[in-house]
Symmetry: C2
Subunit: 363 residues, 2 copies
């Protein structure tokens, strides 16, 4: 391998044979994937019975979220197909990933958004990676409709979730977990918004199981935000609300696929409140040292709910086998949205520049 | 290996034999390190002559900076030595890393700072990881003096840069680069602030060279911010100023070690302006798809300066051998300080919700 093409890792480099690429596909990569699977001793102790919890820390992808796994595929295929640009409607992690991989591919990235809803903080990454951010007169549905129309007639690839390559890239997270643990876990817990990720993980688990690379598939447990829980409530939510913006989706694109994963795996979908999400976020950072964005903490809040006999939980953690291995995916880094944690945190302690006073205050 | 202790990676797990740990040392880890070495085709083309540039993306450590490599050692040794807490004076990456690893170790982290200089944004991570942030009446030197005093008399470990274990952990980045490339690079370029990192990398390169794991050591090129360049100017800077806060240091702790690395490697120290740093930061994100904090971009700005015959460069890139492999370390993720890039970026484009108008605007 020449140094021009050397990647010490990257989703396509690592899992080429399981992905829809050929020798003619240019690899647009930022060495995404190969994220750590971090043992969580305190979460494990909360379950007991020799169960072991591991956190798949997807915030350590190049743009800070799991979206990079799908975007390396989406951009590589777009360039292979002759696209001059990519386009999406997104204020968050998707636009960040699209912009970064488009920069890498030396093609334009267009982010279409409703005027009046644009804050620099949410779009800082899209701007940093050089995307063209277009504010239209209209709402988010108008933006998405225009994205699709433009994708149909122009040499511009749509990289919103209707892009089929993205789930293919995202499934590689399951491959990594199987390779690290030596087998599939017993239980896999995820946040659920557009439901693409739970669908992609299930696809990956089924694929490695069918190839004999795992002896089982895990029970899949999905958690939605209570104000944005269409799969849980079995109906479209017209105005979804939650502080966990990355899973604020009222009509998930991968609804059917998610239901299939839940049913076939013997899993369940459940909902957690914003309060539970925020509490779980701070618990995870201040106890396990892992800082995630609010949406990511839905998986941890969900695990806590499954452990709580006083809750109306959809799945009782007592059903986890003794010694079970449980993986929780956390989808994005806490640095994506650092202000949210402010209210959960302690405040500044004031002191004189005096050794004994400081020792008294911190004891 | 039991699943209780399983780490698929981590600095101590990967390089135990080269680090000051024994079987009695508890490993406090977040699976830090093993960060990607990303090929930079556009930077390579700027040099030409078949040279290849690689970016060591240290922003993909768990807390978003290279500090995690040293902090896993510092906290593991602190716990081994019976410390009940760790303490530091830092507003930035050091306090974030100290707080995360202290949370992991279930001991307290105390961050001491001058009152009036505390913004939530800079300290969001320290708060999120549950640190106790103490504002004292006094300046930064007073805070650092108190940190040292407390460390001398109490069972509280100082994790500021005087902690000798941190450089030991940081040297592992060189080991990883040698293992990925198959040898040491010809040239290594780094930002220089407190000068610990350039010293640690050199330590790592010398160690693997002496063990026969590399056939050479690289030329080390260090770049300071022009308003904060004590090593370049060979004098303490009383009031260092630069937008690259992570390298705003007037009297570096590892000054002598850095001079030794520069001299022995045949390298050089140089300075780049804030304007050059900000331009390099945006160039890197919008061309290579790699978003870094301003201090990190000093290495890229430095490479550009070395290529510019009209500059008063300390090192001429024409001295790089043909086909040279050049590694640039970028020390922290752009999400650490996203507002800074705002002025470099494009602005929002307004449009009607009309296909043809949008196509015209983005063409």
């Amino acid at each position: 391998m020449s140094f021009r093409t050397l990647h010490d890792r990257g989703v396509i480099a690592r899992y080429r044979e399981y992905l829809p690429v050929t020798d003619a596909t240019p690899v647009i990569s930022l060495n995404e994937g190969s994220t750590p699977l971090i043992h969580a001793p305190k979460l494990s102790a909360k379950i007991g019975r020799d169960c072991e919890v591991f956190i798949k820390y997807e915030g350590l992808n190049p743009t800070g979220s799991f979206k990079d796994r799908g975007m390396t595929l989406a951009l590589s295929k777009a360039v292979e197909d002759g696209a001059h640009a990519v386009i999406c409607a997104s204020t968050g992690n998707t636009s960040a990933a699209a912009a970064a991989y488009a920069a890498r591919a030396s093609i334009s990235c267009i982010v279409l958004l409703p005027a009046g809803k644009i804050s620099f903080g949410k779009l800082a990454q899209a701007f940093a990676y050089g995307a063209k951010v277009v504010a239209i007169e209209g709402n988010f549905d108008d933006a998405l409709r225009l994205v699709r129309e433009i994708g149909e007639t122009e040499p511009i690839a749509v990289v919103n979730s209707i892009n089929p390559h993205r789930l293919q890239g995202q499934k590689t997270a399951s491959f990594e977990i199987i390779e690290t643990l030596g087998d599939a876990p017993d239980v896999h817990i995820l946040p659920v918004g557009n439901a693409g990720n739970i669908s992609a993980y299930w696809m990956g688990y089924e694929e490695f199981f069918s190839l004999g690379k795992a002896s089982r598939t895990p029970v899949m447990l999905g958690f939605q935000a209570a104000g944005s829980a269409p799969i849980y409530h079995k109906r479209i939510i017209e105005k979804p609300e939650t502080i966990a913006t990355a899973i604020r989706i009222g009509n998930p694109a991968s609804w059917d696929k998610a239901n299939n994963a839940l049913e076939k795996s013997g899993g369940a979908i459940d909902a957690v409140t914003d309060e539970e999400i925020l509490a779980a976020q701070f618990w995870l950072s201040s106890n396990e040292g892992i800082f995630v964005e609010p949406a990511s903490a839905a998986s941890i809040a969900g695990l806590f709910k499954s452990l709580d006999p006083t809750s109306n939980r959809a799945y009782d953690a007592a059903r986890f086998p003794e010694g079970a291995r449980i993986v929780c995916t956390v989808t994005g880094h806490g640095l994506k949205d650092p202000e949210v944690i402010k209210e959960q945190c302690g405040s500044v302690i004031s002191a004189k520049a005096d050794r004994s006073e400081i020792l008294r205050l911190i004891s």
